[in-house]
Amino acid sequence: MTNAYDEMWKRLDLDLTAHEGLLTVLGKFYNDIYLDQNGRPRGMEYLDFVISEIHGLRIQEITKAKSAGKKVFGTFCVFVPEEIILAADAIAIGLCSGAEVGSEHAERYLPRNTCALIKSFLGFRLARLCPFTNSCDLIIGETTCDGKKKAYEIFNDFMPIYIMEVPNTKSPAAKELFRYEVERFKDKVEQVTGNRITEDRLFAAIRLVNRRRRVLNRLNAIRAAEPAPISGRDALLINQVAFYDDPERFTENIERLCDELEERVGRHEGVAPEGTKRVLISGCPMAVPNWKLPYIIEGSGAVIVGEESCVGQRNTRDLVDEDVRDMGDMLDAITDRYMDINCAVFTPNEPRLRDIEQMARTLKADGVIHYALQFCQPYAIESVKIEQGLKRAGIPLLRLETGYSMEDIEPLKTRVEAFLEII
């Protein structure tokens, strides 16, 4: 079968046959997990469209922008300040790495017990399957977990990568280091794009990214309603799409969706009847198309009301201060905002426990499911402390560790169902 985008994909050096296979699987997966849901908000049509064109229209847009001279930056972590990229009139893409593809390729370089996300980002590149990765002029890596750090060194042999140093504590010295890194990143982006980041441009970018965060926070707040007006799967999808869609268009569409959801809440309407068990997910990021756990949880009769995750509230809650206009102050404000993200690569990381507790209360969750990607040490180990802390707070927790493959679906279902029976 030929596709209208074949030419474009060929130019991006994709493996067309394998890529078509990927799109077919993805489409089927999406159908089963998304389109089969009852009572979806109308506004999700926008997301359905975006997903159906995931490697099509959006890539075309990006390709066009590139031929007009724009640069594209790919990121793997919410610590990379998008504001700086946008301020240089470039495109920022949060690369997803949520599929088990190309792992045979990746395993040529990486030990088998490497987390699925890391395997996936190398796998996508080696198997030539991701038009986003291949559109990037520069990939921005960061020094978060050891797995990523070391894998970037390998990735660098295949694509240019720039590493931002993210500290592992939140001491004043660490903040100073990150402040320096933000500035160094700004210089790098200016150099790659050839555009100077002026105060006005940076201010506009700060406001733009904040707007997108605000709408996602609005969405998250609406989910506190009972009955839940939107499924966790759909909310996750919205958070995922936020990483690669055009920020203005995305924000506009999600505002409209939120209006619809508020009307629903007003009418006391939901995707699941009142009394449905409400679950908060907490842990590793779930990148497109990693919908496995939400599907299992909601398939077992619960509804997910929030994500304490980087594809979720860790990426949206805090805004950059908009009250400063001077370059130095704005860079300070960016530093402060990013250094408030409570990721498990930091030590100590008690604020994350407080975040989870607070989310569980405001969203009226009956229990928390902690999700660690298999072989992810930071989150798997931190989950012990989280479990102890939540126990003290009287909030039930289920700890799960799993990867992208489907082979453990049945035992996972048993665990999730048994947890739902308990809470």
Binding site: E401, E407, D408, E410, P411, K413, T414, R415, E417, A418, E421, I422
Partner: protein
């Protein structure tokens, strides 16, 4: 009132029918490829007021035969508490998985642990090890009871453990001692799970592997407490499902 509980496990299917709270009927079959028809046949001719299915095949059976389903964890909790009203923890070792369940005073599940995706330490593990020793699973228990506690099997992985067993046998190690070490490794792994959920005493051991007297004995030894095994340990799940059916 007649209520039925069915436990569709990876190796066997158990059916328990209760008349009020008394056991009226119980049967057991090896799980076949088409277990939905199998369950249908087992239920054939019974006039039931309520039925509930549990076990790894519960979803498919529930959907096809339009009966409710419950997890093994809740079913075992109900079944075991009926047999031992003061039980505080359950260890269930079946064909392909191991579960440790902690109960509160009212018999409700407080915490549970399950083994990861591999078959280490399960019924299947023991079957394969028995094969490597050239005996049946029942013989393995007998052998182990007469074995000395003088060596350890270090691999948990079924494949590696098998290699280890073959190597030990080739070196001329006594089969009894190898069997003892194998049983010990299963008991060790299971007791670690029990410890993780905070189970200390009043443990009930069920599932197919509970028939293995050697594992039972090692478990008591490691935990330092008496461990109860029901007369028919593989029926606890089906019994629990029958009790929960309504």
């Amino acid at each position: 009132m007649f209520k039925a509980g069915i436990d569709v496990g990876s190796r066997s299917i158990e059916l328990v029918v209760l008349k009020e709270r008394e056991i009226y009927l119980k049967t057991r079959q090896e799980t076949s490829f088409d277990y939905v028809s199998q369950v249908n046949n087992m239920l054939n001719g019974l006039d039931l007021d309520a039925t509930l299915v549990t076990g790894y095949g519960r979803h498919l059976v529930s959907r096809k035969l339009e009966i409710g389903h419950v997890t093994e964890i809740k079913a075992y909790a109900a079944g075991v508490r009926c047999l031992y009203p003061d039980a505080k923890a359950i260890l269930d070792i079946g064909g392909q998985d191991t579960k440790a369940i902690l109960l509160d005073e009212n018999g409700r599940v407080v915490r549970f642990e399950m083994n990861d995706r591999c078959a280490a330490g399960t019924g299947r593990f023991l079957e394969i090890m028995a094969q490597a020793l050239g005996c049946t699973v029942m013989d393995l228990a007998e052998l182990a009871l007469s074995g000395r506690h003088c060596l350890a099997i270090s691999s948990m992985c079924t494949v590696f453990a098998e290699t280890e067993v073959v190597a030990l046998m080739a070196k001329g190690t006594r089969a009894q001692d190898v069997a003892r070490a194998l049983v010990r490794s299963v008991a060790r792994r299971s007791s670690a799970m029990l410890r993780r959920i905070g189970a200390t005493d009043r443990v009930v051991f069920c599932g197919g592997v509970a028939r293995n007297t050697a594992v039972h004995k090692e478990l008591e030894d490691i935990l330092g407490t008496k461990v109860e095994v029901p007369e028919e340990p593989d029926y606890a799940g089906a019994l629990g499902a029958a009790l929960l059916a309504n």
